[in-house]
């Protein structure tokens, strides 16, 4: 059932929640014991390799696998012919269009981007598999390509899908195009709003695609049994989603496919879908042997989804006293070769922070010859916020107003209507701005060529389907079985909430990620949903176990269960009328479980609602080297509302990680395509992510405005921290140099070019 749980008293100080115990997965990770996707092996296992298109856009006229199949050691080769036809697929596939997922996994009529899978081999060694790939002959008809979002929208652009007719346009177009959909958010009257404005700023922005940059490449092993059942071990954020998509793509009943999630070396949204998993399963089906596929870094860049690149036009008007009167924008996002770019989320998020009466945002979802985009923290929001927050900074400069003060004058509060419709409940937008304004970083002196940037960010958060089992062991310890892969410390947070509810020490509670056969369905770990929804399920499971124990104690005491209360890990008579009984501890009750009815467990299977919205404010100081164009980050502050921080260290880690990734997106990270439509920088040497030495200690402030929809007031925190950095850094660079850069990344060549233009202009 859908669940919204009312919070406990927000003023209560908890004994477990809010503490910082050591992470339960830490020792295994630092000693190398933790088993990641590539660490799994099985007797008789084959190694799978994928042949990928060298062309950005090509019709596949034929594939000859005979020479590869004849190579000794090759046990199976699969192509599009080994997958059910797209018209045979059911609807569904979670939040993605299943047909597109299947077509992305293995190209059908056309290769739609460089790196698109066209065949795969399973062999007794990686060397043989690699050699076999070279023996597969693919007859390509190379087609014109397009990799830029604006070029893809232009008349005469090469069309990727002859069946794509733009949705949301009246009358419906008669010709196919690369624009999958046009949509709008309209509120009020922007013409009237701009007429009231004293200052209007209008700019065009561009951002490049950024990869999630997880350390661990995609990896999986599939093993199909002769009886038609299969097992998979996968590095993923959502093993139930992997199960469902693989089963649907290959026509298996869900009960025949068991998926175990490995430990995960980063996901950030990029591991919420499938790439190699159905192929490994198809190879195992064909060979009758377990098959492992591990992407190399080159494949991760070329064939797994980065985020969208975007082109945005934004115009905002404000009065002299800093009230935003109108905003009008056009957001053009490419989603790679398939529909589904996160442009609507961008539109929803970029103005959700401000109480603005007149807004008109037009969104275009565009396809290009690039890998299918995948989610990346707060999908779609950072790009749109880069545009809005940059324009607001210019307005603040024009008004000679403090940028935090400008935002405070427009910030949403409880009761404000969001740009996307519903009214907000209690939210912490104002609190994050005030904390940032009052922080010592905001007062630190700046030298020449240094500048301070401010930006804010938002993500709505959601809950979703979640199931948890809590087993009480006879020695008084507790085992939690969770179905949400732990990508950010959720096991520790769940243990803390269970310990708090049960009244036992944190050290007595351990959590595992159970496989898909062990628990009911769990939605994928993503969208900042797990601490909220799995936390809610954990609390319900604990209370379910407590009710069970109260019932047993009541039977032992010969009183009604209602006369037994649970307090600080003890069952006690609820009052003098209940009788005079010695309280029984959790451990005592657990030890008697066999004699009092058998094992004790608690369960919760819920569709969690009540996720609280998340707001954050970032302040960054940079120094620009006018000789090299390099930007150094001097200080960085993240202030964000967590509702209630269950394990504050993990919350701070989310803040810091999001900020670090956002700094990389702002300054260096980009997908660079050549004239031939091939990716020029598919490795960490040329795709420059920030490393520890590039960043200062990222300061954090956790604001706690409790979310009324969660028993401990939790708000998801993982998405929002990557929303403000793009604009925060750009605003700092603008204030350091006097030049506003509207195209990301602000790499040294772009900075030097901007400074050069500035010098020429005198």
């Amino acid at each position: 059932m859908a669940a919204v749980m009312k919070p406990r008293d927000p003023d209560v100080t908890y004994s477990q929640v809010g503490t910082r115990p050591k992470r339960p997965d830490g020792v295994d990770k630092v000693t190398g014991r933790a088993r990641y996707g590539a660490d799994v092996s099985a007797p008789g296992m084959l190694i799978g390799k994928v042949l990928r298109s060298p062309h950005a856009h090509a019709r596949i006229r034929g594939i000859d696998t005979s020479r590869a199949e004849a190579l000794e050691g090759v046990k199976a080769v699969v192509t599009r012919d080994d997958f059910p036809g797209l018209d045979e697929l059911p609807d569904g596939g979670g939040e993605e269009v299943l047909v597109d997922v299947a077509c992305n996994v293995m190209a059908r009529e056309k290769a739609l981007y460089e790196g698109h899978a066209v065949a795969a081999v399973a062999a007794t060694s990686a060397r043989i598999a690699k050699r076999a790939l070279g023996l597969i002959e693919v007859d390509y008809e190379v087609l014109p390509h397009v990799t830029d979002v604006d070029a893809a929208m232009a008349p005469g652009a090469p069309v990727l899908h002859e069946t794509m007719f733009t949705r949301g346009v009246e009358p419906a177009p008669s010709e196919p195009s690369n624009v999958a959909e046009r949509s709008e958010i309209v509120q009020g009257d922007v013409a009237e709003g701009f007429a009231q404005a004293d200052v209007i700023v209008e700019r065009d922005f561009r951002t490049e695609a950024a990869h999630q940059g997880y350390i661990e490449p995609h990896a999986c092993m599939a093993s199909m049994s002769e009886d038609g059942s299969a097992e998979m071990w996968v590095c993923t954020q959502g093993h139930y989603s992997v199960r469902d998509m693989c089963a649907q793509i290959l026509g298996l009943p869900l009960s025949r496919l068991r998926v175990t999630a490995s430990e995960i070396g980063g996901g950030f949204g990029g591991k919420t879908t499938v790439f190699i998993e159905p192929t490994a399963l198809a190879l195992s089906m064909k060979s009758g042997r377990p098959v492992k596929i591990v992407m190399d870094r080159d494949e991760v860049f070329r064939a797994s989804g980065p985020t969208s690149s975007a082109s945005i036009s934004m115009k905002i008007g404000a009065t002299r006293d800093g009230r935003i009167t109108a905003a009008e924008g056009e957001l053009r996002y490419q989603g790679g070769a398939f529909r589904g770019s996160p442009v609507p989320f961008g539109a929803e998020c970029c103005f959700a922070l401000y109480d603005t009466a007149n807004v008109h945002l037009t969104c275009y979802d565009v396809v290009v010859n690039r890998p299918k985009q995948a989610a990346y923290r707060a999908p779609g929001a950072p790009m749109a916020s880069f545009a809005v927050e940059s324009v607001l900074d210019e307005i603040a400069l024009e008004l000679d107003m403090d940028p935090i003060e400008l935002r405070l004058r427009n910030a949403v509060k409880e009761g404000s209507k969001s740009i996307y419709g519903p009214s907000f409940g209690p939210v912490g937008m104002v609190e994050t701005l005030e904390e940032a304004r009052d922080h010592e970083n905001y007062q630190a002196p700046l030298a020449a060529r240094q500048g301070r940037g401010v930006a804010t960010g938002f993500w709505p958060n959601y809950g979703g389907e979640t199931s948890v089992t809590l087993n009480v062991n006879t020695d008084g310890t507790v085992l939690l079985s969770l179905g949400t892969p732990d990508i950010g410390g959720s096991r520790a947070s769940m243990c803390l909430m269970a310990a708090e509810e049960l009244g036992v020490p944190y050290e007595r509670v351990r959590a595992i990620i159970a496989d898909t056969n062990a628990l009911s369905f769990n939605a994928t770990t993503g969208g900042s949903r797990v601490t909220h929804s799995a936390g809610m399920a954990t609390v319900q499971a604990a209370r379910n176990a407590i009710d069970n124990m109260r019932g047993r104690v009541a039977e032992m005491w010969g009183i009604d269960a209602e006369a037994v209360e649970w307090e600080d890990g003890y069952a006690r008579p609820s009052g003098s009328n209940a009788g005079d009984f010695e309280p029984m501890s959790f451990a005592e009750i657990a030890a008697l479980s066999s004699q009092t009815g058998g094992p004790i467990a608690g369960h919760a299977e819920i569709n969690a609602a009540g996720a609280g919205n998340s707001f954050g404010t970032h302040v960054v100081d940079v120094e620009v080297d006018d000789q090299t164009g390099a930007v150094s980050v001097l200080r960085y502050l993240v202030v964000q509302d967590a509702g209630r921080a269950i394990h504050p260290s993990y919350v701070e880690g989310q803040y810091q990680g999001g900020a670090a990734q956002g700094v990389g997106w702002a300054l260096n990270e980009e997908y660079i395509y050549g004239e031939d439509g091939t990716l020029q920088n598919p490795g960490f040497l040329d795709y420059r992510m920030p490393v520890a030495s590039d960043l200062p200690m990222i300061d954090t402030v956790i604001v706690e405005v409790p979310n009324p929809g969660h028993p401990y007031g939790v708000r998801g925190v993982g998405e929002t921290p990557i929303v403000p950095p793009l604009a925060a850094v750009a605003n700092a660079v603008a204030r350091a140099t006097g030049r506003r850069l509207t195209e990301l990344p602000m790499s040294p060549p772009r900075i030097l070019a901007a400074l050069s233009e500035s010098a020429e202009a005198g």
Partner: protein, 82 residues
């Protein structure tokens, strides 16, 4: 019970521009089925799946959730994330 339903975010443009509807419903299932029956123009929106916001709380696939009298109800695009 008559429920006033508004289309939030980008959904109004996907449904041809109209953003407010009325339907008899006590829970989300009745709401979605009623909208689909009474307003064929909402077909494409509903087929792609929606979330429902009731008094600011977001529900996805929670058909049995009851709608209180006078509630603020919005249909929204489904939310996912990274």
């Amino acid at each position: 019970m008559t429920v006033q339903v508004r289309l939030g975010s980008t959904l109004a443009s996907a449904a041809g521009g109209r953003s407010e509807f009325e339907v008899e419903a006590r829970n989300i299932m009745q709401l979605l089925r009623g909208l689909g029956k009474q307003y064929p123009e909402l077909g494409p929106v509903l087929e792609r799946g929606v979330a429902v916001s009731i008094d600011g709380q977001l529900y996805q696939d929670a058909w049995l959730e009851r709608i209180p009298p006078g509630a603020e109800v919005y249909l929204m695009p489904r939310i996912s994330g990274g």
